[in-house]
C-alpha cells in the first residue's frame, strides 16, 4: 500500500445506489439462509417460516429491482456494467501477484467508471447468468400451483426446477463469499465498505486527473 501517493476523495456511490446495495445484500443473505433451510440443509426457523420469509424477500427484491432498473436507465448508470476487455488481464494478474508485492492497482477508479474490468465481468455474469437461473427457477417454483393453468405441467417437474434453483443458490453463495472478500482489497482493508456506506472513496491522485471534483450530489 502506497502511503506516499496523494489521495483525492470522489463521490462514487449515490444515495439510492447505496440503499439498493445494502437492502439487496440483506435480502440476498436472508434468501440464502431461508433457502438452504427449505432445502433441508439445516433447521432453525422452521420450514413454514423459512418459506414465508423466502417468498417475502423474493417479492421485496423484485420490487427493489424494478426501482433499480428504472434508476439505472434514468441516471445512465447502467453503462457502468458494460464489460470491457481492457486491463482485464492486468486486474487478474494484480489479484494473483501484484497485491502481494505492493504493486500499484492497475485500474484507476473514476465516478464514470467505478467498477474495475473484473468487477464489470463478474456483475455481468451475475446479471446475465446467475440471476436468470435463480429468478426463472424461483418464480416457476413459487407459482407451482399455476403450472396446470399455464400448460407447464407436462413440460416441467418440480424436481428439475428445484435442482436448477439450488444450483443458482450455490452460485450466489460463491459470489457472496468472493464479493465480501474482495471488498477488503481496497487501499485499506475497509476502504471499499466505507465507500459503500458513505458514498465517498479515496483514489490515488493522477496526473491526468480531470481535477473536477464532483459537487455534492443530489
Amino acid at each position: 500500500m502506497s502511503h506516499t501517493t496523494p489521495m483525492t476523495r470522489i463521490y462514487v456511490f449515490k444515495r439510492y445506489e447505496r440503499f439498493w446495495h445494502w437492502s439487496q445484500a440483506v435480502l440476498v443473505i436472508l434468501m440464502l439462509v431461508t433457502g438452504f433451510e427449505i432445502h433441508g440443509s439445516y433447521h432453525s426457523l422452521g420450514f413454514e417460516r423459512a418459506v414465508r420469509l423466502h417468498t417475502l424477500s423474493a417479492w421485496t427484491l423484485l420490487a427493489l429491482w424494478a426501482f433499480t432498473i428504472f434508476w439505472q436507465f434514468t441516471t445512465g448508470e447502467w453503462r457502468q456494467y458494460i464489460p470491457t476487455a481492457s486491463k482485464l488481464v492486468a486486474m487478474a494478474r494484480y489479484y494473483m501477484f501484484g497485491i502481494f508485492t505492493g504493486a500499484p492497482h492497475p485500474y484507476h477508479k473514476t465516478v464514470q467508471k467505478k467498477h474495475n474490468p473484473l468487477q464489470r465481468l463478474a456483475y455481468l455474469v451475475l446479471l446475465a447468468l446467475v440471476s436468470p437461473v435463480i429468478w426463472g427457477s424461483g418464480l416457476l417454483y413459487l407459482f407451482y400451483a399455476y403450472w396446470g393453468r399455464l400448460g407447464l405441467d407436462g413440460w416441467l417437474s418440480l424436481e428439475q426446477v428445484a435442482t436448477v434453483h439450488t444450483a443458482g443458490a450455490f452460485m450466489m453463495l460463491v459470489f457472496v463469499i468472493a464479493h465480501v472478500y474482495l471488498t477488503t482489497t481496497g487501499h485499506t482493508v475497509f476502504a471499499h465498505i466505507k465507500a459503500m456506506i458513505t458514498g465517498w472513496d479515496e483514489v490515488e491522485d493522477e496526473i491526468d486527473h480531470t481535477g473536477t471534483a464532483p459537487a455534492k450530489p443530489r
Binding site: 500500500m1 427449505i38 432445502h39 433441508g40 440443509s41 433447521h43 422452521g46 420450514f47 413454514e48 418459506v51 414465508r52 417468498t55 417475502l56 417479492w59 489479484y95 497485491i99 502481494f100 508485492t101 505492493g102 413459487l142 407459482f143 407451482y144 400451483a145 399455476y146 396446470g148 417437474s157 418440480l158 424436481e159 428445484a162 435442482t163 439450488t166 444450483a167 443458490a169 450455490f170 453463495l173 460463491v174 463469499i177 468472493a178 472478500y181 477488503t184
Partner: protein, 531 residues
C-alpha cells in the same frame, strides 16, 4: 365462510335425504310423533313384529334397504371384480363371519341371520330399530341379531342372563339416525370400542372440537349422516370402494351429481384454502397430491379410546393352572392377553402411515393363495405414486397373526364365538374350530394349519382436527418426516440432488479456502514488507 360451509352441508343433507323427511344436523324436529301412532302401541314380542308396524306407513323402507350392503353384507366391487362384503371377507381381527353368525350378526340390520339359510327376501326381518332407535336398544351377542324380549340365559347353561328390552317403548321413540346408532356397530367392529378403525370410536358420540371439528357437540354437532347422506336408504361412503381423489369444486344445492357426498370435497371443494397473495395457492396445490385427511388428521384414536394395532391369534388358548381362560391387562386397563383371542397391542394418538391410494382396494379372500413366508396383506390399497387419480392417504396399519392352511396356502376362518363343541372359545381346540369354519365357508381344509403374519389397512378419514392442529409443514418437508419413503412426488426439504449438494458445498468451500489463503498471503507479504 364457516356459515357458508354449514349451509352447503345442510343443503346437501336435505337434498340427499330424499323422502324420509330426515332431521339434519340442525336438530329440527320431525312432523311425526311416533309415540302417538296406534301401530306402535305394542306390545311387541319380536323384532319382526315392530318392522311389520313400521312398514304400514314406511311402505318402501324394507325394500330399499334390502338393496344395500347393510342388508346383504355382500358386494361385487365393480372396480376390481372381487366379491366382497362382510359375509365372506376375511379380516385380521375376528377373522370371519361364517360359522359365527349368531354372534357376529348382532351387527346385522336384520333379525335372525344365524346361518346360510337366512331368508334375505323377508321384509319383516329388516331391523328398523338398529339404526333409528334413540337409546336402550341392544342386540346382544349370540342371538343372531334378535333383540331379547324375554329374560334369557346366555350362553345356555352358564347361569348368566340377558335382560329383556321393551320394544314398544323403543319403537315409539324412533328418529333419524344418530351417531350412537351407527357407532353401535361401526365403533365396535373387531369386538370392542375403537378396535378396528382407529378413527371411529365412542368418543365421537360426545366429540370435542379438538377431536372432530364437524362432530363437535358444542359446535357443528354433525351426525354421521350429515356427510354419509342417504338416498332411499343407500348410505354414501365405503371403505372398500373409496373416493380417494375428488378434484372438483363443492357441490351446489340441487346439482345433479354422481360424486360421493361423504368426501370432504363435496362440501369444501378441492381448493379450500384461503391463502394470502404471497402464498401463491401453495396449500391448494397440495390437494393435487394429498388427501385432505393427510394434513387434517394428524393422529387417530385421539378421543381417549385405544385402538388395536396388533392381534396375535397364535397366542390364544393358554389356560391358567386351574385350566381356566384368563385375561391380562396393561397399566391402563387395556386387555393385552385373552385366552379366547390371543395377544394384543393397543395404540392411542397414533400417527398414521401414509401411502398412495386411488380408491381401489383388493382383498385376500378365502380361495386366494398366500405366501406364508412374508406378511400376508389382508387388503391392498392400490395407487400408482404420482398418478393423477391417486393421493397420498393416511392409513392405520394393523398387524395380525392368524390361522392358515399350510397345505393349501389359504387363510382360514375359525368357528370361535358360538357355544358348541367346535367353537374355539368353548374348547380351545384349533383343529375342530378351523374344520367347522371351513365347513361353513365351503372352502376346502387340509386339516393342517399354522399361523401367519398378516397386515390390514384402514383408511383414516374421521377425527378431523382443528386447522391449527393440522400436520405442520416441517413434519413432511424434512428428512425422515412423515412422508419418508413416499415416492412419486418431489418434496422440498426431503428431496435434493446429492451430487449437486456435494458440488455446491465444495464450490463454496473452495471459495472460502481460496479467499482465506489469499488473505493469509496478503498479510504475510505485508508483514515482510513492514520488516
Amino acid at each position: 365462510m364457516r356459515h357458508r360451509a354449514i349451509h352447503a352441508l345442510f343443503a346437501l343433507a336435505v337434498l340427499m335425504a330424499g323422502t324420509a323427511g330426515a332431521v339434519g344436523a340442525s336438530g329440527k324436529a320431525s312432523t311425526a310423533d311416533h309415540s302417538k301412532f296406534e301401530e306402535l302401541a305394542g306390545p311387541f314380542d319380536s323384532g319382526p313384529a315392530v318392522t311389520r308396524a313400521c312398514l304400514k306407513c314406511h311402505t318402501e323402507a324394507s325394500h330399499q334397504i334390502m338393496q344395500t350392503r347393510h342388508w346383504t353384507w355382500d358386494y361385487a366391487n365393480p372396480a376390481t371384480g372381487q366379491r366382497l362384503g362382510k359375509k365372506t371377507m376375511v379380516n385380521a381381527f375376528c377373522i370371519g363371519d361364517q360359522s359365527n353368525e349368531p354372534f357376529c350378526q348382532s351387527c346385522h340390520i336384520g333379525y335372525g341371520w344365524k346361518d346360510k339359510h337366512f331368508d334375505f327376501s323377508d321384509a319383516s326381518r329388516v331391523d328398523c330399530l338398529a339404526c333409528h332407535n334413540t337409546g336402550e336398544y341392544t342386540k346382544p351377542f349370540g342371538f343372531a341379531g334378535n333383540p331379547v324380549t324375554v329374560r334369557s340365559e346366555y350362553p345356555p347353561g352358564s347361569g348368566k342372563f340377558v335382560e329383556p328390552i321393551d320394544l314398544a317403548k323403543i319403537a315409539q321413540a324412533v328418529g333419524p339416525t344418530r351417531r350412537d346408532n351407527c357407532g353401535a356397530c361401526h365403533y365396535y367392529g373387531g369386538g370392542g370400542d375403537g378396535v378396528k378403525h382407529g378413527d371411529l370410536d365412542s368418543s365421537l358420540n360426545t366429540a370435542t372440537h379438538a377431536l372432530d371439528v364437524h362432530m363437535d357437540k358444542d359446535g357443528l354437532n354433525f351426525r354421521c349422516s350429515t356427510c354419509h347422506v342417504s338416498d332411499q336408504h343407500a348410505v354414501a361412503g365405503s371403505r372398500i370402494a373409496m373416493t380417494a381423489a375428488d378434484p372438483h369444486p363443492a357441490l351446489l344445492r340441487g346439482e345433479k351429481s354422481e360424486r360421493n357426498p361423504a368426501a370432504c370435497q363435496a362440501c369444501h371443494g378441492d381448493k379450500p384454502h384461503k391463502e394470502g397473495l404471497l402464498a401463491a395457492e401453495r396449500l391448494n396445490a397440495h390437494t393435487d397430491t394429498l388427501a385432505c385427511q393427510t394434513c387434517h388428521i394428524p393422529a387417530f384414536a385421539r378421543g381417549g379410546v385405544s385402538t388395536k394395532m396388533a392381534w396375535d391369534w397364535s397366542q390364544a388358548g393358554q389356560l391358567s393352572a386351574e385350566g381356566k381362560p384368563f385375561q391380562k391387562k396393561d397399566d391402563h386397563g387395556h386387555v393385552i392377553y385373552d385366552s379366547k383371542k390371543g395377544a394384543f397391542v393397543h395404540g392411542q394418538n397414533v400417527t398414521p402411515a401414509y401411502q398412495w391410494f386411488d380408491g381401489r382396494v383388493t382383498y385376500t379372500l378365502l380361495n386366494d393363495t398366500i405366501d406364508p413366508t412374508t406378511r400376508v396383506p389382508i387388503n391392498v390399497f392400490h395407487g400408482e405414486p404420482g398418478a393423477p387419480n391417486a393421493r397420498i392417504w393416511p392409513v392405520k396399519v394393523f398387524h395380525g397373526r392368524q390361522p392358515y392352511d399350510t397345505e393349501r396356502k389359504t387363510l382360514l376362518v375359525p368357528n370361535v364365538a358360538v357355544p358348541g363343541d367346535t367353537s374355539f372359545w368353548y374348547n380351545f381346540d384349533w383343529s375342530r374350530a378351523l374344520a367347522a369354519g371351513a365347513e361353513a365357508t365351503g372352502a376346502p381344509f387340509s386339516g393342517k394349519y399354522d399361523f401367519v403374519d398378516t397386515q390390514m389397512l384402514w383408511p383414516i378419514t374421521h377425527m378431523v382436527a382443528p386447522k391449527e392442529k393440522a400436520v405442520a409443514c416441517h413434519e413432511c418437508h424434512a428428512d425422515g418426516g412423515r412422508l419418508a419413503g413416499i415416492e412419486g412426488v418431489y418434496l422440498p426439504g426431503r428431496d435434493r440432488s446429492p451430487w449437486l449438494d456435494r458440488l455446491g458445498w465444495l464450490a463454496a468451500l473452495a471459495a472460502l479456502l481460496g479467499v482465506s489463503l489469499h488473505a493469509i498471503a496478503r498479510i504475510l507479504t505485508h508483514l515482510r514488507k513492514e520488516d
